[in-house]
Each structure stands twice: as C-alpha cells, then as structure tokens.
C-alpha cells in the first residue's frame, strides 16, 4: 500500500492504553489519535516513551485499554503490526561478531524479504546511512555513531510503513546527530513511511515531527499538531518601526493584513496566507518606513513542553 495515498488515515490510535509492570503503572490511560507523517514522543526520562513503543511492538501486554496501528488491533494482530514496523531501539542492539551486511541482511530476511532482495536492500540501506564502505566490517568493531547508523539501517532495510526510532541521536556528536536527523527528515519527506520519534531532545522532535505527544509520569501531559500550529502561526508577525508611519499602515492594510497596534510604531499583523514577509519589506521601502525588528511569532515546542510539564 502506498502511504502517500492514505495520508490522513490514523497511524496510531490509543484507547485508554494502560500498562503496568509489576505493581508500577507505566502508562496510564493514554487516549489519543495521530495521523501525521512524523509523530514525536516527548517527555522526561521515565515518562513512558520507550514503554509505549515496546507496547506497540507487543513486548508488553496492555493491562487495560488498547491501541491500533494503521487500524490494526494490537491485541489481535501483533505479528501483522510488527511486519510493518522498523524499530530502532534506544540501547545498543547488534550482533557483534558478524559483518554489517550480514547483520542487516539477517534482519531483512526476518522481516520477510527473500534472500536476494534482502541482500540487495542491505547494500542499499548501508550505503544510504553512510556505512557503504564499512559494510564488510564486524559490527562489534564499529564506533558508537556507526552502531547507531547500522541500527537505523536494519530498521529501514525492509521498507517498513512505520519507523519507530527511540532516541536515535543518543551518543552522537553534533555532525553525526545532524546527519541522523537529515536522514530521518529525508525518509519523512519521501512520504512512503511514517515515523514515530521518541526523544527527550526538543530540537530533534521539532525538526522532524509534525505531531507531538508529551508524556509525563505515564500520562498524556499534552499533545499538539505542530504542523497545524506552524501553518496557523506562519502569518502572525510583530513589526517594530523606527517611527510611526501611517503610509506603511495603509500599505499593509492594502495587502490584506489585519493590524493591531500595540503602541505607536509597534504593530502586530496577521497576514493572509498568500502574503509573505518580503512584501512587508517592499511596502516599508516604498513608504519610507524603517523596520527595526520583524518577528515571525509562534509558540516554540519548548514553550509547549514547559507548559505541559508545569501544568501537571
């Protein structure tokens, strides 16, 4: 099935999902639905992000409630769900004494690829993540960054519908972290696989995800559609002028902007979708207005996250 055809259909639905391990309640009545290209799981350590991923993989049975992945019930279709998932765990996970190509091919065949296709795609996956030249080295000899990349390669080798990435940038230096995030964004933008990214790094989630679930102590602290927020806030602008300028006000009004004057020379604009900031600069140039500051204002994910943490 081509995912680009079913954009908008729910990827993940949580119906009062509760998971208890021993006497501890790790996930407590999660209720949410997500259909974005990339879903971020945010929360402090111990919030339940990894447990949620593992529950979706069938590693933990729900104590009550349930979940659906691509409309399939977790309780009755765990194997079918796993067949469509590529999972990159947070901790080290590899077989040390075999080569990277052998390792990734094994994982591809376990996911159902015939041997020839598995070998072909293993080469491709390793080249894709930048390990092409190291593919005949034993995984145990890899650096931390290379081990992260080989984990990504094994997660995507079978072309899953859903990629679950648990702290993919853990232990990576800044260039490697950027490379990992670029790869994930590339996979997202191709539109053939959905992504669930678990991280406690707000920057990673903000860069990659269009929907976010914020967990705290096993409960949903907040969930938001970042993409909708971005769209909604894209046209919200604050402008500081060097001096009040009525001509400029009229010019931006003529562009269709709604104007709220905060104080003389300080404007708050809501621009129509087809107007860009460039046109504001042109209007300023034509009316002789000097713009001291122009800010696209929106809630950052950090604001949302901090509110969620304080609110619970």
């Amino acid at each position: 099935m081509n995912i680009s055809h079913d954009l908008g259909a729910p990827v993940l639905e949580l119906d009062g999902l509760t998971v208890k391990l021993g006497r501890r309640t790790i996930l407590d009545g999660l209720e949410a639905s997500f259909s974005g290209r990339a879903i971020g799981l945010l929360g402090p350590n111990g919030a339940g992000k990894t447990t949620l991923l593992r529950t979706l993989l069938g590693f933990y049975p729900p104590t009550s409630g349930g979940a659906r992945v691509f409309g399939r019930e977790l309780s009755s279709s765990a194997k079918e769900i796993r067949a469509e998932i590529g999972y990159m765990p947070e901790s080290d996970a590899y077989i040390a004494n075999i080569t990277a190509i052998h390792f990734v091919r094994l994982m591809a065949e376990l996911s159902g690829l015939p041997p020839d296709a598995a070998l072909e795609r293993s080469h491709e996956a390793l080249f894709y993540v930048g390990l092409g030249e190291a593919r005949y080295r034993k995984v145990g000899t890899f650096s931390t960054g290379m081990k992260q990349m080989v984990k990504l390669a094994q997660a995507l080798v079978h072309g899953p519908r859903l990629l679950m990435l648990d702290e993919p940038t853990n232990g990576l230096d800044p260039p490697a972290r950027k490379r990992m995030i670029d790869l994930v964004c590339d996979i997202r933008d191709r539109g053939t696989s959905r992504i669930i990214l678990s991280s406690h790094l707000l920057g990673d989630v903000e860069t990659v995800c269009d929907e976010v679930l914020i967990l705290k102590n096993g409960k949903i602290a907040d969930s938001c559609d970042l993409e909708a927020d971005r769209q909604a806030n894209k046209n919200f602008v604050e402008v500081d002028l060097e001096a009040p300028n009525d001509k400029f006000d009229s010019a931006v009004a003529a562009l269709g902007c709604e104007i709220a004057s905060l104080e003389p020379g300080k404007l708050k604009l809501v621009m129509p979708a087809d107007v860009s900031t460039r046109e504001l600069w042109i209007a300023a140039d034509e009316t002789g207005a000097g713009i001291r500051r122009l800010d696209l204002k929106r809630d950052s994910l950090q604001d949302i996250f901090l509110r969620a943490m304080e609110g619970n």
Partner: protein, 286 residues
C-alpha cells in the same frame, strides 16, 4: 536500483510466509556454526561412529572381502542387539559434544548485545526464535544420531534379509525414539544454559557440570540412601534406561522406567522455564 543513488524507498516485492521466518534464524545460525573450519572438521569426525557402523555391517555380510582380510563371517559374533546398543552410545556421545560446542554461541551472542529485541520486533515470536535455534541442533545432531542409526539398521535388514528388520523392529525404534528424545533434551538444556550463561567457556563448563557432576552426585545419593532415588537427577542414566527399555535390554538401577521418563520431561520443563524467563526483548522491572 544501484547503491550509488543512496535514496530511501519502500519495498513492494514479495515477502516470505510468516510460518517460515523461524527458518531464517536456523539458516543464519547454521552458517555461523560452519564458518569455523575447526568445527566443520570436528563435525565430520563425529560422523565416524556411523561410518564405522556402516562399514562393519557391510563387512560382516561380505564373505569374499572377509576372506581377503583373513577373517570369517563370525568375526563379530554376529550383529546382535548388543552391537547396536554399543553403537547407540557411540553416536549419542559425539552428539552431546556437538551440542556443547555449538549451543553456547546460539543464544548468548544475541543476548550479549541486546539483539534479541531486534529479532522480536520482527514478526517472529519468542517460540519461533527458540524453535529456530533448536532446529540448528536438530539438523546438526540428526545425521550423527538417528539418521545414521536408521541407516545402519536398514542396511543390516537389507543385507540380512529373512525378515530380520521386522523381527528386530525394537532396534530401529530405539534408535529413532532414543536419539530424538536425546536431541530434544540436550537441545533444550544447552539452549537454556546458553541463555543464562553468556560466557562461552563457562556455559560449556556448566553443561559438563550438569551432566557429569550431577551424575556423580546422584550416585553418591544412591550409595548413602541405599536406594536408586538419586537416579532422578542422573540424566545420562535416565536416557540410557529409556533406550534400553525400548531395546528390550537390562536397565540400571531400580527406578521404574516411568520415573526415567519423568527425569527427562522435568529437565525439558525446567529448560523451557529458563528460556521463557530469559528470552525477553526487554527487562521487566518489578
């Protein structure tokens, strides 16, 4: 698509049936075992008892060849049940040694770097995984044990003629049931040890300990109590008695055969429990 393009794409081709995924585990583990030339040579050596058995059966029915080497057809006193019982032991021992060599790396390698979570995040279950690993041992041990044994039995029946095979069906049955039972018990036991003891030499030591030290301990219990109750933990005696009962030969100790079966079944049950406890894709916190 060429690798130089370095792009990401979905896979839209055929997939293998879910029920055969465990075979992937087996295939890769077998390849790993035979990647060592030393093991391959050792494995060929383990086929020696069967080869010798086939040669002796052939020799005992080839009068002209016997005359050439200066022997008579009675040189072995005929191929009696004792010959087959003796041969059974010589097949079971190398089977155990192969299991001891191969098993410690079967599961421990996956557990030591958390690779198990990668297996179990695929559409295979814990049971599929264990069956896949067990199949490795079954495939390796079968030619050494029951397949070799039945080959010798069938060859003897063919060369002897006169309904020898029908009259001595117990020999064939003992080879089949005895060796299959031995393979199941030893496979589960060695896999369980492999799951719990990740350091290979320690795992091998533990296996020898369970087999031989427990046997010594069992005999000590028997000597102190003046009974055969110690045989309940004597694994090799249990399998030997079970096999001898099928052969129709004398058994050791005074325990009923049912209790020997109990020892084998209990060993399997404990091994399965150990595997279930250890083979998880995660650590469960209390």
């Amino acid at each position: 698509m060429a690798v130089y393009e370095r792009i990401w794409r979905r896979y839209d081709g055929n997939v293998t049936p879910l029920k055969w995924r465990a075979a992937v585990v087996t295939k890769y583990a077998l390849a790993e075992a035979f990647s060592s030339r030393i093991f391959a040579a050792f494995y060929v050596l383990c086929l020696l008892p069967t080869t010798v058995g086939v040669f002796l059966v052939y020799l005992s029915h080839n009068v002209s060849l016997l005359e050439k080497v200066g022997l008579t057809a009675e040189f072995m006193g005929g191929l009696t049940a004792v010959f087959f019982q003796f041969l059974f032991g010589w097949q079971a021992l190398p089977a155990f040694l192969v299991a001891v060599v191969v098993s410690p790396s079967l599961i421990a390698a996956d557990l030591s770097n958390n690779a198990l979570s990668l297996y179990l995040s695929r559409p295979i279950s814990q049971r599929d995984y264990v069956l896949g690993k067990m199949a490795v041992l079954a495939i390796l041990l079968s030619p050494i044990t029951w397949m070799g044994g039945l080959l010798i039995f069938v060859l003897q029946a063919y060369l002897e003629g006169n309904n020898w095979g029908i009259e001595n069906w117990r020999i064939g049955m003992a080879y089949f049931v005895g060796h299959i039972t031995w393979i199941v018990v030893i496979s589960l036991l060695t896999l369980a040890i492999s799951a719990w003891v990740r350091f290979k030499p320690a795992a091998r030591g533990a296996l020898f300990g369970i087999i031989f030290i427990l046997a010594g301990f069992a005999q000590a219990i028997n000597a102190v109590t003046g009974t055969s109750v110690g045989d309940l933990i004597h694994l090799t005696r249990a399998i030997a008695n079970v096999v001898m009962s099928i052969f129709g030969g004398p058994t050791q100790g005074n325990l009923p055969i049912a209790l020997n079966w109990f020892t084998l079944v209990a060993t399997c049950a404990v091994s399965i429990w150990m595997l279930r406890r250890k083979l998880r894709a995660h650590e469960v916190i209390g």
